[in-house]
């Protein structure tokens, strides 16, 4: 059998993975959900035909979206995670004994239910007693919060479809309001490589800029995302991700990570010139 999953990474470039078995297909209220068994990447979750996670490379994304802010401010106690239905971000956060509360807001309960069933690798810690699950619109949830969270992680889909609202100025402004005075906002920041993604990336950067005194972008290499070159946004009211990194303290925690370390933490903020230019264009 010759069964392949193919995703358009741009209108003129495609990425394909050989599929062993199509484990699940269904339509939720918000999006089309598919889960594949593959040889190369293990289980693969796609939403509306876009890869969200694969068992093989999800660690890169989840390490980088959580440990960078956590190492910058080890004092973080209360975290809001928006999106992240696969549970991978929560899994990483629960490694920190110091965190007291994790609120996770995912619009689509079906994604969470299916990941619990098919992809326990990421969904394994969703039952941690510190985790509260809310199935509602992230923008609506955060609008009602004020001075409440030390860290907000926006682990969203792309800026079209159900995740649209999480790339807007009103959302970032609401996040600013929902954060404490030393709060940090980390978001999935799209890719600088293909034209459409780069526009979304620039728009996101421009919209965050207005609110936070510290706005940085860092990168990682995620093979199954378009171009593999992926960015994260780091916006903060007080802590600088490099100047305030306490590498010794983080290393003393002795956490096991597969991608993140304190050297890569610093190095990930070193950006290629073409990315710097794109960011400067909107600054």
């Amino acid at each position: 059998m010759n069964l392949w999953y193919t995703e358009d990474h741009s209108p003129h470039a495609r990425f394909s993975i050989r599929v062993e078995q199509h484990l699940y297909t269904g339509q939720s209220e918000f999006q089309k959900i598919d889960i594949f068994q593959t040889v190369e990447f293990g289980k693969v979750l796609t939403l509306d035909g876009y890869v969200m996670i694969t068992e093989k490379d999800e660690f890169i994304y989840h390490d980088m979206i959580t440990h960078v802010p956590m190492a910058t401010n080890p004092g973080i106690k209360k975290v809001l995670v928006i999106g992240a239905g696969d549970g991978g971000t929560v899994r990483e956060l629960t490694k920190y004994q110091s965190i007291e509360q994790i609120d996770m807001v995912e619009i689509d309960q079906m994604v969470v239910d299916l990941c619990r069933e098919y992809i326990p690798q990421t969904a394994s810690q969703l039952d941690d007693p510190r985790v509260n699950l809310f199935f509602e619109d992230g923008l609506k949830f955060v609008r009602k919060k004020e001075n409440d969270y030390d860290l907000i992680i926006v682990d969203s889909t792309d800026p079209f479809g159900p995740g649209e609202g999480l790339f807007t100025r009103e959302f970032y402004g609401n996040c600013f309001k929902a954060l404490t005075e030393d709060g940090i906002l980390v978001n999935q920041h799209e890719s600088p490589f293909y034209t459409e993604d780069a526009l979304g990336m620039q728009r996101a950067h421009q919209r965050i800029l207005g609110f936070f005194p510290i706005c940085k972008v860092y990168q990682a290499h995620i093979p199954t995302y378009p171009s593999g070159h992926w960015l994260f946004g780091f916006a903060s009211k007080k802590y600088d991700p490099i100047a305030d990194l306490d590498a010794v303290a983080w290393n003393e925690l002795d956490l096991i990570t597969k991608y993140y370390n304190t050297d890569i933490h610093v190095g990930s903020f070193a950006l290629p010139n073409y990315v710097k230019e794109q960011l400067q264009d909107v600054e």
Binding site: K140, R143, G165, E170, N174, K177
Partner: protein, 485 residues
């Protein structure tokens, strides 16, 4: 009239048949199904240009319908409960003008509220009809013009028993309805025609628990903007007639000003939208009302904003309220509606219908998604957090009772001179000044210019309203009558 199935869409079906015939076009339009204008075809789509065709036997003729357009008109009439429905392709403006021109000749009086759309007063310039204005009054807190009170209209009727017709907004831009049944009955008792501007009321014909529609209360004519809540293409509209109104005469009046090259894009969009509303309108507008109510509740929870609804009803000048409208009073947060309108677009990429001094209006339709509603609410919450000011910064007068000195037609065509706006107080205006939207004149031809009006215009300018109406596109000069009466 024989009963027709609302499943049918005769104009769309005829266009489909016509496409399949693969007729060689040696007629206009010269783009010839788009082949002669590649860039246009690429931009609008070949499918669209393939049905941008001329009237011809198989496709009927809008000026004198005998086949498929006639059938489509009958279907529309049936769907709206009218005696006849005309397809209008020059906007609801042309429908309003056709109503007034059908009812009134030069010198005839017509009773109307002053907060009419410019199209109604334009019709007075064209016909020479004489307006008898009924002051709609202003809501004290919200500063918006209301409906007409039955008592005021009765007084106007008794003082002007020779008036030929009465024009009613159903609803106003903000969603406010007069007592349409009582006004219609009253006018009919005095042998006056009832003309209803339903530019914002298409859905009244299809939704449940919505205000009464013109045809349902026995009004004589109604102009219905299908392209607003009805879902058809911009500029397409229906003119409905009822009772003893003559179909033939009304069509003659329409043909005085309507194009002889009616667009089949617009006609088919009316036909398809009528079908959709007839079959699914009830569910569609139930959903729209729910979305509006949800958004209204969430906006009211923010505090400072007041998204108003049926609690305003007073049995007369606010006889009913259109709950699909999302009108929001903004004065308590110290920002003019127009300022929020601009911030929403410039900062949040959200375009709303309009903002005036104390209010804004967001148009909710079946095309809206829950996530878009959340964006609007979140953006309003953010605007309050970031920009709220002292409420005393906002002017608190919207409606200024006009002093009508000459008829609109006489003032428009009279010998005139051009003055700087600031020096025009005391003169009689020969032209309009209005904010667009909503397009309700601040000054109409024939009205006296006062310092109060000039202050209001200056304030609107300062707040960023888009002013229009005068010959001078910068709205710094105004034409006034040479003779001061």
């Amino acid at each position: 009239m024989t009963h027709l199935s609302q499943e049918k869409a005769p104009i769309m079906e005829a266009l489909n048949r016509y496409k399949h015939m693969r007729v060689v076009p040696f007629d206009v339009p010269g783009h010839k199904r788009g082949r002669g204008n590649e860039e246009l075809a690429a931009f609008l789509g070949e499918q669209c240009l393939a049905v941008d065709v001329n009237s011809m036997k198989p496709l009927d003729n809008l000026c004198h319908p005998v086949s498929i357009i006639k059938e489509a008109e009958q279907l529309a009439a049936q769907a709206f409960g009218a005696k006849h429905a005309f397809f209008m392709v020059n906007g609801t403006t042309s429908a309003v003008q056709a109503m007034i021109m059908t009812a009134c000749k030069a010198g005839d009086k017509i009773i109307m509220p002053r907060n009419v759309h410019r199209s109604a007063i334009n019709a007075l310039i064209l016909t020479g009809a004489v307006p008898v204005y009924v002051n709609p009054g202003v809501h004290e807190e919200l500063g918006i013009p209301l409906g007409m009170s039955v008592q005021d209209v009765e007084r106007a009727i008794l003082e002007n028993p020779d008036a030929k017709a009465i024009l009613i907004n159903n609803p106003t831009y903000y969603g406010i309805c007069s007592n349409l049944q009582a006004l219609t009955d009253l006018a009919h008792e005095h042998q006056m025609l009832v003309l209803v501007d339903e530019a914002h009321g298409t859905h009244f014909y299809f939704g449940e628990n919505l205000p009464a529609s013109a045809m349902s209360v026995g009004a004589d004519m109604a102009s219905v903007s299908m392209h607003k809540s009805g879902g058809s293409l911009t500029q397409s509209s229906f003119l409905l007639i009822n009772n003893e109104m003559s179909e033939g005469h009304t069509r003659q009046i329409i043909n005085l000003t309507q194009t002889t090259s009616g667009s089949y894009l617009l006609l088919s969009s009316l036909d398809i939208s009528r079908k959709n509303l007839a079959l699914h309108g009830r569910q569609v507008f139930e959903k729209v009302a729910q979305m509006s109510q949800y958004t209204r509740d969430e906006i009211n929870k923010i505090g400072g904003y007041y998204a108003f609804s049926k609690e305003l009803l007073n049995g007369d000048t606010i006889f009913d309220f259109d709950v699909t409208k999302l009108s929001v009073h903004t004065r308590e947060i110290g920002l003019a509606g127009i300022e929020i309108y601009d911030i929403l677009r410039d900062e949040y990429d959200i375009q709303i219908e309009f903002g005036d001094i104390g209010n804004l209006l967001a148009y909710i339709s079946v095309g809206d998604r829950q996530l878009d509603l959340e964006r609007l609410v979140a953006a309003l919450a953010e605007i309050k957090r970031r920009y709220a000011k002292d409420k005393n910064d906002v002017f608190d007068h919207e409606y200024i009772n006009p002093q009508v000195v000459a008829t609109p037609q006489k003032a428009f065509y009279a010998p005139k001179k051009n003055l700087p706006l600031a020096e025009s107080a005391g003169y009689i205006s020969s032209e309009f000044v209005m904010c667009y939207p909503p397009g309700i004149p601040i000054l109409a031809p024939g009205e006296r210019i006062t310092t109060e009006i000039l202050d209001y215009i200056a304030y609107c300018k300062e707040k960023g309203c888009f002013l229009t109406g005068t010959e001078d596109s910068a709205i710094q000069h105004i034409n006034v009558l040479k003779e001061v009466e």
